[in-house]
Symmetry: C2
Subunit: 201 residues, 2 copies
DNA sequence: ATGCCGGACGTAACTTAGTTACGACTGTAA
DNA sequence: TTACAGTCGTAACTAAGTTACGTCCGGCAT
């Protein structure tokens, strides 16, 4: 042919195309053909770089955690460790609600047949490690009750994640307008619960 | 033909077949053809009763909440309202972990393109209403801090749901064996946080 | 310089799975 | 008895993940 078949597609540009499609059409619209078209190549191009749709989703999974970490790392300027933790909690929801399709790929099993392999899962838990550090700081400063930081961080994560997932599943008893306020108060509840001295059971 | 084409399939028996397939093959294996084969009819049988795969999943969604409610309603014999609430929390996880595929259909968006309509969502929130009642009881008895019961119930639900979803997503930093213990302590944490008097912010 | 080789890519086809057009059968009611 | 409504099967249509196969390109040894 006269013209080159196409410009060589880097893995990154193809991943960017996948992100575009995911944002535009959601997890259900994330088709190999759509990604290929967005990237300006044919379907086999996707397969040479990612092996399968699963590989593509795995790349989106990891990419999501990197963007997510970056968003949480943007939080700064809080006066205390606890205030920082609270600000991170607010930023968490902001990112998740702002990127619902990406969040659901990361946490929700929204792509059929997709299950992250061990490496992507480790990447996910790495984000959790940052949270543990911030919890640890708040314990050191005496703002949170001394306890096993990993388990307390997991408790915080689970609570926040639960709020976000219920909201993304549209399971909200009150009007949507109030979701942010309900979340804010929930964040206060879980944090203050960790400040109080827990009864000996 | 000599024999009748097939025995008439009731909607219920077909739903039961769908539950069997969902349990056996997971959400990804929930194919109209598989359900039809399990029910002993052809694919069109599914369509006459459910209209579409979406209708079938919607039926599974509602069916899940009914089973789920029944499981929670089995909890009894607790000495106090708070003990009952805690027992319900344990039963919640037991059911979810015991029926992960069904739970994910109800909450996780595990079936592509499926979004519950208004009616199924109302059915889901009905389960939430029971929880609100139990929380209310524990406030009346003075075991939980007086507060808006709906919002406190939502907080409990979100926390529990978050733990369960993280576990179902295999996002657990510690070995699986400990998941139940971590959950138990998490339940203690959230409940005791609701017992303590929260600082005025 | 020339020919070989591996990676990247496109075309076209294969396969699976949701869906539907069409016709046949059953039981009920007028 | 006949018309009708509901149920069901056969076979086909369509969308989407995947792959067989051939081509092109750039680097490298001879």
């Amino acid at each position: 042919m006269a013209s080159p078949l196409s410009t060589p597609q880097s893995r990154e540009s193809m991943l960017a195309a996948a992100v575009t499609v995911l944002r535009r059409d959601g997890a259900a619209g994330l088709r190999v053909r759509a990604v290929a078209e967005q990237a300006g190549c044919s379907t086999t191009g996707v397969y040479t770089h990612f092996g399968s749709k699963n590989g593509l989703v795995e790349a989106l999974f990891i990419d999501g955690f990197e963007r997510f970490d970056a968003a949480l790392a943007e939080v700064s300027g809080a006066a205390t460790s606890l205030a920082h933790l609270r600000a991170v909690g607010l930023q968490y929801r902001r990112w998740a609600i702002g990127h619902p399709t990406h969040y659901m790929v990361m946490f929700g099993g929204s792509v059929p047949e997709f299950e992250p392999g061990p490496d992507p899962l480790l990447r996910a838990l790495q984000s959790f490690g940052d949270l543990t550090g911030w919890v640890s700081d708040a314990m050191t400063s005496g703002e949170l009750t001394n306890d096993e930081p990993g388990e307390v961080a997991y408790h915080l994560w689970a609570t926040i994640h639960g709020y976000v997932m219920l909201e993304l599943a549209a399971m909200h008893p009150s009007p949507d307008l109030a979701a942010q306020d309900v979340y804010r108060r929930g964040l206060d509840r879980v944090i203050s619960g960790l400040r109080a001295v827990r009864p000996a059971r």
